[in-house]
Amino acid sequence: MPPVNGTFCVTVMKDQCINARMPGKCATCVEVCPYDVYAIDQAGKVHVQNYNACVGCRICAEFCPEDAIRINPAESEFLVRAPWTFPQVEEIHYKAQTGEYMLRGFGAMGFAPTFDQITVVPSQLASPAPRDKYREECNLEVVIGEDTCENPIRLRYPLFFAAMSFGAVSREARMALAIGAALTGIMSNTGEGGLLKDETWLIKGYENEERTLRRWEPGGYLVVQWSTGRWGVSADYVRAGDAVEIKIGQGAKPGMGGHLLGAKVTAEIAAVRGVPVGSDALSPCRYYDVQDLEDMKRMVAFLRDVTNYRVPIFFKLGPSRPYEDVRACIEAGADAISIDGLVGGTGASPAIVTQGVGIPTLALIPPAVRALKEMGVHHKVKLFILGGIRNGLDAYKAIAMGADAVGFGAAAEIAMGCRACMACHTGRCAYGITSQDPELRARLNPEEAGQRLANFIKATAEEIKILAMLSGHDDIRNLSEEDLRAMDLNTAAISGLKLIGYERRLPWWEDEREKQPHPA
């Protein structure tokens, strides 16, 4: 198996391990590990057979009844040899052996700038008084498409689940996302993998197809994605969504099409996508039915027509030239534009593309907002930001910088149980989230995972509420850049926020502000 991210020391403490003391009595680690790190011999003794296969998911440590296992990163001894660290050496060995490039799941690792060098400005004397989070209200609702379609989307919180395709993730994960969105009144997104019928009623809070058994309130929204692969796309598919999202790119592999490796193309997925079982499903990188902006406008127009002018039309962009790209989407007629940053994850992508291609999420926001403001549609055409958003603090900062809502992909998976071992592309996800193996999928309970997702969203919404209210706001639509400060020069240079201490924007941003038209 090709190397995954990081090398781990697997330590089993023999004094505590049941199997070490009584061979044959416990083999939990063997059973739970999908990577064959452990093996059990004829005598019933468990031993570590291949610690190199360990991806650091820690499921063995979690499930060990005696807490006898420790999984630790093993790299420290090699760091002095940087750049020739152990993972780098392994990577070159792999290429020399196979002639192939590395693929992996998840998003970029170890990136700056993040939102961490931005701080929130609370309210004191020089601004409207703070609001009381415990006793007063704060409006968190976001409405999309109210001027353009019959059924606008009313998100209860400025949050949503990012697109994760069926195929990249399991059926159970898709169902959990639908239930989580139904419990919180937000959106889930089909991604490129086609639509599972169950999602259409789960998302509305119903347990059954007839929609007679209502289980989850208040009900959410399902966005169907229209992408380069068109897997499972038909008129019915397009009409099944509460919005249609035209996918141009994504953070993890902008400029490339979706990648679903053969190991995950089971009979069910092959049937939905129309590829042979076991064969890689590689979406094309571009639309063969769009050659220029005029075609894109026509595409938006016919998607509105097919859905009878009822639902909003979104665009999803990868991180490229945000100002120009957002302008193009606005001209094409979008109701909302999502931009996914460099750190955004995926099921499988060439490692160099995930790590090396794109723009960090933070830096996408100012140019996107500038495009929206210049065309007079800021907050009318909604801006959605995704890519490595971790919590309510990150979300608040993105919103204050001008976004309307913030998406969770990796964070949502982690809420479902993921441990960010980044081995999604192998199809051996120990938690059944990004696997198609029925035994591994059985580890994920959609209802339980849906509840965990809802809990995570609610906690995140509370965080946003706290920050908004201590800053003097009772409505997130009133947030602005004045609510934030950059804490170092780099971040001030990139974000256009005022720098702490200096209490002004850096000079070239000041000039920008003077040139811009005043907001309406």
């Binding site: 796309v233 008129a235 129309g274 064969s279 094309p284 063969y288 039915d289 016919f302 027509d305 035994e439």
Partner: protein, 248 residues
């Protein structure tokens, strides 16, 4: 190559000849997509429709599940996009991206189609009596696409199922990364794409083509046709067998 091969031209669907007086006529001059489409959907539900002056509209007859429409003259781009069962007949030329992502139904064009004709189609039949452009039948996933004239480059790229019949000549990269399905071609081609090979034509193939040509009034001799199929079903980067339940 002649524009329309028509020694035995198929009759226009009966409705537009005999029932012309009963078909609902939609004149789209100076009208926008929304107004024409609304009228079209209402009328098609009640009976056959004849449309005129639609060349300035794009994405017409989108996602309709049943009914018949005849378009007199030329049509714009994206005609019949997401078609799910309607029969669409164009007497003139069609614009680009004809029958984009069609899943069921029938589209017949007497004249030429353009760039990207019949892309991403899952099913149904598209017949273009004249020529079609580059990237015709790209990512075909099960439709039957018949072109009575010539086609351009990159035709049937990444085809995953279905069949493409080309009576005339093709350009470069024919059938590039064909995964499944077949291309039947009566003329010549500039070069074949990756993962393709010539396969022998069988009696059944010839009978099938003969059936198509008779039905659609196309003048062509199936015995002069050649067949192109795939080399490997899994031509891309290392495919591993998926984990199937029985294997554990």
């Amino acid at each position: 190559m002649s524009l329309v091969t028509d020694a035995r031209k198929r009759d226009l669907p009966s409705f537009s000849r005999e029932l012309n007086v009963m078909a609902h006529v939609v004149d789209a001059s100076d009208r926008d997509l929304r107004s024409v489409s609304t009228e079209l959907r209402r009328s098609m539900a009640r009976g056959p429709v004849v449309m005129r002056k639609v060349a300035h509209l794009h994405g017409l007859v989108a996602g309709i599940k049943s009914g018949e429409v005849a378009i007199e003259g030329d049509s714009g781009d994206y005609l019949g996009v997401l078609n799910d069962g309607a029969t669409i007949h164009v007497t003139g030329n069609a614009g680009r991206y004809l029958a984009d992502n069609m899943t069921r139904g029938m589209v017949i064009v007497e004249g030429n189609a353009s760039y990207g004709a019949a892309p991403y189609c899952y099913g149904g039949t598209v017949v273009v009596k004249g020529n079609a452009g580059d990237f015709t039948a790209v990512m075909n996933k099960g439709a039957t696409i018949i072109i009575g004239g010539n086609v351009g480059d990159d035709v049937a790229t990444y085809m995953l199922a279905g069949e493409v019949v080309i009576v005339g000549n093709a350009g470069k990269n024919l059938g590039n990364y064909l995964i499944r399905g077949n291309i039947y071609i009566g003329g010549e081609w500039a070069n074949l794409g990756h993962n393709t090979r010539l396969e022998p034509m069988t009696e059944a193939d010839q009978a099938k083509l003969r059936g198509y040509f008779d039905e659609y009034g196309i003048e062509a001799d199936p015995e002069t046709f050649q067949k192109i199929g795939r080399l490997s079903e899994k031509p891309f980067y290392k495919a591993k067998a998926p984990v199937q339940p029985e294997a554990r």
